[in-house]
């Protein structure tokens, strides 16, 4: 099966504030839009089944399939995967989400990070490490491992 390619990852705070929107391809604006619009669908999913963390495929648009995951503290992770003509097993997507979730928790475990409301803006250097980790995750996933 062709390797899954991650186009973008978005972390959105519990109050629907964007924490980080990282796109691994050009056209960052598009992924901002995707992250933003996903919130609507996430709301629908969460109200339908409030207990699930993994919200599954939200929708597919243009050439990406958008998946979402919600952490117990209501941080939303939105994943835009390049659309391929094959079903990506949920278990695999879930695994990616778990990895992303872990990376996020590692990042916010930084005691120097001000976890205010709203959270520190994306450009903050405190997120540098987190960004690097995300790049790595995307790279690993895309290489088909």
């Amino acid at each position: 099966m062709a390797p899954t390619r991650i186009n973008a990852v978005a972390f959105i705070g519990a109050n629907n504030h964007p924490i980080l929107i990282r796109s691994f391809v050009d056209n960052a604006l598009k992924y901002h839009y995707i992250a933003h619009t996903s919130l609507d669908v996430i709301d629908e999913r969460v109200s339908a089944s409030p207990k699930d963390s993994y919200l599954g495929l939200l929708y597919s648009i243009d050439d990406v399939a958008v998946y979402a995951y919600i952490t117990p503290l209501n941080v939303k992770v939105v994943l835009a995967i390049a659309l391929a003509d094959a079903v990506i097993p949920d278990i695999k997507v879930l695994m990616i989400f778990k990895t992303l979730h872990l990376a996020y928790y590692r990042a916010i475990s930084n005691p120097f990070l001000a976890l205010g409301n709203p959270p520190q803006p994306v450009s903050s250097p405190k997120w540098k490490n987190f960004n690097r980790q995300l790049d790595e995750i995307a790279h690993v996933v895309s290489s088909g491992a």
Binding site: H17, H32, Y33, V41, Y59, S60, D62, A65, A86, S123
Partner: protein, 1157 residues
Amino acid sequence: MAAPSQSAVVSYSATPGFLSSPTWTQIQQAFRAQFPLRNIHWKSTSRVSLVTIQELDIKLVALDSIREESVSQIPVNLLEKPLLNVYFVLCDDNDLETYRTTVRKHAKDWHATISARKNQEWLIIQVVKQDTKIQTGAFFQLKGTVLDKLRAEFNADKRERCVQLSWSSAQDSPMVWGEIVNKLKDGLLSAFEGALSQREEDVRRSESQRLMPGWNFCTFFILKESLASSFQSMHLLTEALMQYDELENTFADVLSNKNLSWFGSLITPAPRDDSAPLLSLSRKSYRDLILANTISIFDLRIYLLARQCQLLANMNQLPDACRRSASFLGAFGRRLREVQDSLWPFFVEGWIYSSALSVVDQCSEWEEGRKFDKTQLAVVNAGKGELLELARTQLDIIGVQSAHLPAKPPFSHALSLPAPIIETSGSELGNKDLARALSDKELFYDLYIGITNRAIDMYAQAGRRKFALKLHGSLAALDVHRSQFDTALTTYTSLPAHYAPHKWDALGGLMLSLALDTHQTLEKPKDGEWLHVLLSFLSAFSTHGPDLLLTKEDSAAYLHGLITAMRVSANDLKQDLIQSDHSAMSVRVHEQARLQADRDGILLDVTILNRLPCAIPIDEVGVVLAGAENVRLNFVAPFETLLPGKNTVTLACPASSPGTYLVDSSEVIMGKVVFRWSYRKDTGKVGRVTQKPHLVRIPKDHHALNVQIRQPKVVVLDQPSSLQVVINSGRNEVNSLILSLSSPTAVFRMAETSAVEPDVELTATKEEIMLNNIPKDKQLTLIVNHADVASSTMRVMVNVRYVTKMEPTITRQVMINQALLVTLPISVNVEDFFRGTRLFSRFTVSTTSHQHVRVASTSLECGHPGLKVVKCNSNGRDILSVTPAQPAHFLFFIDSDTPVRESLTLHVHYRMLRDEVQSLIEEAVHSVAEPATQGIIVELIVRALESDASWIEQYGLTNEILLPEAALQGVGHIEQLQKVKDILAQPGKDVRASGSWREMQIPVDVPSMNIVASVHLEFPSKDTVSSCYAGQAVPVKLGIRTSFNWDASAESDPSERQYQMQYDVEEMVRDWLVSGRKKGDFIAKDGETYTVELTLIPLHHGELLLPKVAVWALPVGGPLTMGSLSIPSTEAYQKHGAERIMVLPRGGRTTFVTVVG
């Protein structure tokens, strides 16, 4: 393949005679009435859970009408063949004869036919006519019933397949069918399961051979599909869908293994392939194509999807159908693009476009006749919205590639790579709308807007606001492209507000920047509205910086242009535009303010952080500090350019009000635009974030103009209250000074103000006092009267504005908020004693607070010449200390021959111990230290003394002040401190002379008494007094002398007055026996003595006090009392009050006679 039939086939058979009878018609009718069957519970052996088939229709056909098993190898729906065969036997239970002759053979033949068929069940129903039963009921039976016979002959295994039906044409009760229906269900399920397991086995076998050469997916597909359609016929939709899903997975597997040998191509485009309705099963004869092994992947996938969606629609899961379709279109569209070259231009886009729209239409069709609740409907609408958006995306692609739309965002989002422009007339396109739009720009735009609006509408119905926002944005982009800037501007300016609440600054910022661009293009005036947009944009830019999704190449230059334009339009604004808490800048106020060295004033450093990457031209920076009780200090400084990053500005305030202040707000002013940051905590939710209040400390300037409020030196109790305002000009030569006082509790009579010092240029109005020409280092004291205050302290707000000679243009301001203790530190009580013409007054001075008060002297003064006031001379220390525990007493006597009507005044000279010590310290420090350091040293010593109270006792005794060593450690000024310490520790200082004393003047009324009586008991001789025996009678003379000397109220001459009085000698039954008129009335006259003879007999020996005599006046009436009775005031004192009489025991012999016996 057409849609699978929704019913199971059941065949029936009977003897020809029965079939042609009217009874059969009736029975058949009643039998059919039992269908469809409901609630069939299928517990399959191969499945875990119990599945319930809600409803299953039964197609009842005659056995003869069924064709023999088809010879075709194509696996068909399991339900196309009968699952159950029913044989009806019309025969009474005892009518064995009929059975044997007519039925039996026919039934045997039927049974033989049926048993030969695979996976078919059978059932024999014996119809017993109820009305005939009665006649045969009593018949003696030997050979069993027909039913028994039937069972014996056909029903070989355990399963009961013969049922009896008590038929009565009259009463058609559903009850009689109960058992038969159950048998029917059992039979159907059993047959179905048998057939199913066989078919599933076939499928498994076929699937396992997948990797073998010669295996054909199409064959497998048909086989598997037959399974799915069987499930569907049995109303097991979930099972059916599962089959299709498995098929899809297998297909994907096969595809990934590149085992495509049995497929001709991915797609063989047919003319209307790109526009036919996607989910229509009749779009092509898919099944034939599959059977012929000529189907393309394209068609197969569509067929699969159509089947799945059909099932989902039947299962009422429209949203799922929408989602699957959308995913499929996206995913398969991508695959098609790989072979784009073999297709005509825009085939893929056209196909997705038409298909998406057709799915929407199909959904709407399915929706009809079904009921959805609100949430379901929303989800369906959301699904439709997504599909419409997918169609719209295709328009984006087509638009960009046909040059109808520019190749830039948001139109280019759908294009993963920059696409070349394709010249085509679009004639091959199946969708004629699209084809026409391709050649006609306006038509294209209409189509674009139409589809977008449909999508927005759907999203709105689904409650997906954010999707709708995105589409609105794209419509605005189209407006820009079509040069309809006004509409675009309206949209762009309204959109950011929707992104703002959750800080989606990147998107909001983009909208704002687009709005600014559009504004620029329109060349509209850069007014307040434009400024608002720009300010919002700058705010977004400052938080996101380079992350903001600007399409601009050089954002710094772009920003610089904006700011320059902003500067121009900020000056042109008509009114101030206040921008609160803008994030492009932030102001940090330093905590410690500084004093200006050579003049009155405070400097405050402020750091302004400019978060924008370019310089901002501004005019002014200001900070407001808030102190207690609305004291506000305004700091301002002009400033020109805020460079990117930190800028430090020093602000000045021409005032000197020391203390701790809260930063209230800060401002950066650019023309009419005011950036304001408020630091108050009570501003809504923001205040909940734990933010420490930002404090600024302003040090005290000892050389600045200083105003203090004190209690006046002299307090006269029956005069209006006043206070002292002490103004110290400090280093300033003051041109003019305006002072005003205010207090929440008191009213000041400013117009009555007077100055203590002479030659003061003072003008007092009702509100203010103006002073002119005050030289340097001059102290002025003003007395200001005010109305009485109820509380013990009075808050006074002093506001002084002054102009110095040095800087006549600057008006400086000092605001001081001071609490003034209004109550006096001491209280005075008086006690009076009358003795004839003299009056003794004892004044008790006590402190009202915990503070020690020093009293220097007291005097009682009177203007009346005939009055003689003598102070009781206490020979003790000259200064008395009054402590809370120990009040001081002062005794005076007043001698007067005539009644006194004037009041006297008690003068008390006092001061607080604290003030006294402070003045001593100040004197000592003045003699030692430089003027510059005096203030500090005094403060240090006072603080040291405050910290330790042990010096007070010593000071009270010797006037030596011993400074506590510990408190003065390491504070500097060692030399001066040592000198001061030596001076203070010297004994025998003239404390009285140093510092100033306060004076309190208390008016004292001389008390009036109508009658002053003195009582005395007179013994006949001195001897009697000295020697008197117990039991000895002593004659005494009781004299009561009355005087009207202190009767100040009476107008007439005292000698003319007289009062009726009574006396009463006290009973002292243990000590004295009183004989005579011990109680009586008498007339009292001024200066006369009334005498009564009494005899006293002491009852025992010892030193005895004489009995007291009470004297009182009887009520009198008269002109003075206006007819009513009043009791004249009387004071009586016992002259002999302190005398004791020595009574001796009786001497000599005493004889006691006792009676004996």
